[in-house]
Symmetry: C2
Subunit: 300 residues, 2 copies
């Protein structure tokens, strides 16, 4: 409890902490600290019964809006900076390894496996973008057979799970790196978007005068046996809102240039028509164990 | 932020607090303090991504088990002592006023109005108990027309909302005090019970080695125009678990004796057959405004 000095403890806090005396050590530590900090929050702001009721109602509404396709609890964690804080504490990365950032509320497991070069847009969704690079060790060696799990929004701002008019598998896919560690696929240039504003988190943002915008990005999870699983973004380095991401997830090392290319550029990959963009992004994995189960808090 | 001294703030915390700079003053205070304390909790215990996922999954499960009849978020608040803490901070009561305690997760609004002396048990539910007393001002004057909203469990431990075999209106009712401030009804002697253990709170209690028992009690809300609404219990003064209530809600001033009476006791009220109990409980309201809306966080 190193962080707690100052305000004397309320007697009720002592009772609650004592109730965890027989818990296994780590659970005792976590639950006791949760009670200490939650109680100190309540005491510091002198939370009123009416405010407590509003909090219960907000949590209840959060629970009821949360589904297979919508994870409003993760959105709270993101919007309160908790997701990035957990990420920051965990990631004591070796030099050169790619930094991580939030998972976000729109991840859907089991995206379709696709081949090198495939187009992940099932329907028109903006300016085509060739996204490519290598998955590497911190020593610079290629990692063959690594899995890239990618998802992104289209120029209507929406992810497929938010968009009734889009096929389920629109703008999401999994790929395996080739023997030389390379990957490549056709996506679209992502656009800034607003985090969902029709739920409790949206009400909080509006009530507090916060904007809901996130800078443009593509999501990636990279998994390979013998390496720590990496959850990250490619941020468009010229996007708006990079300095004020609604979920505090921008790290300068994750910014990449989307380079404009003309229709007749000889490097145009098969399947692209008209003007396009390219973005290069190597992903460097830290050695370790995956350790991250597929369960991300969604309930069946 | 008087309560926060010690551990240096994480840079992410500063970003999140700054994001609330334009909120209305009270909301800025509450949200900033929430971010500060939540972040310090995460930093103090160095919450791991896996623990974060467990927390998201628990909150998600809490949301999904919460319904019209089941309020698992209130149960968390109760089981973590937050409900009693909010209660303790709010209630700066004048001398002599009856103390308050938790609402609990089983309150159902709009119980049927019943007449003085009515039996609230729709079916056999334990030893009959004559519950009576007066609603009074702190000066000792009777308050006529005050509303008593009562609910309790039966000897199967269950509240009607938990019990598929009980009519909806079993063991719950509203009464108005008579001109002399008196109320009286036939309930049953309450029994200790376990808070629901089939949801996330139950899993927490089991994992931490905490017991789920609450001492025997009857719930009351008393409402009268011109007085502060009182949410309280009558605790059976001889119950087990008075020294270790799972929700930390016992206050010594709320203990009352359930007096055993024989079937031929001349004081037996109409409608009681066999041996019975009586409990006397005056309820003293503090002057003020009701200020407590009926909304208790349940969603429609």
């Amino acid at each position: 409890m190193s962080g707690i000095v100052g305000t004397p403890r309320h007697p009720i806090t002592a009772q609650v902490v004592a109730s965890f005396a027989d818990a296994p050590p780590r659970l005792r530590e976590v639950m006791s600290a949760l009670a200490e900090h939650l109680h100190r929050f309540v005491v510091d702001v002198r939370l009123t019964p009416e405010e407590w009721r509003v909090a219960i109602a907000l949590l209840t509404a959060t629970g009821h809006i949360t589904s297979e396709e919508r994870q409003e609890f993760i959105l709270w964690s993101d919007a309160l900076g908790v997701s990035m804080l957990v990420d920051a504490l965990e990631h004591d990365l070796p030099p050169g390894a790619t930094e991580s950032t939030v998972l976000g509320p729109f991840y859907v497991p089991d995206s379709p496996m696709r081949e090198y070069g495939a187009n992940i847009a099932s329907q028109p969704a903006g300016d085509p973008a060739w996204v490519s690079g290598r998955v590497l060790t911190t020593a610079g060696d290629p990692i063959a057979g690594a899995e890239l799990d990618v998802w992104q929004n289209g120029d209507n701002e929406l992810y497929a799970v938010q968009d009734a008019d889009a096929p389920e598998e629109h703008l999401r896919a999994r790929f395996r790196t080739r023997d030389d560690g390379t990957y490549g696929f056709i996506g679209v240039r992502p656009v800034p978007y607003r985090i969902p504003s029709d739920g409790p988190v949206g009400r909080m943002l509006q009530a507090t005068g916060r904007h809901p915008w996130r800078p443009a990005h593509i999501h990636l999870i990279v998994r390979a046996r013998g390496y720590r699983t990496l959850t990250t973004h490619i941020f468009d380095s010229t996007s708006e809102h990079l300095d004020a991401d609604a979920v505090f997830a921008v790290k300068p090392s994750l910014l990449r240039a989307f380079v404009r290319r003309s229709a007749d550029d000889p490097a145009a990959p098969p399947g692209i028509a008209g003007d396009w963009y390219s973005v290069e992004n190597d992903l460097v994995l830290a050695a370790g164990t995956a350790g991250e189960p597929a369960d991300d808090g969604r309930t069946a």
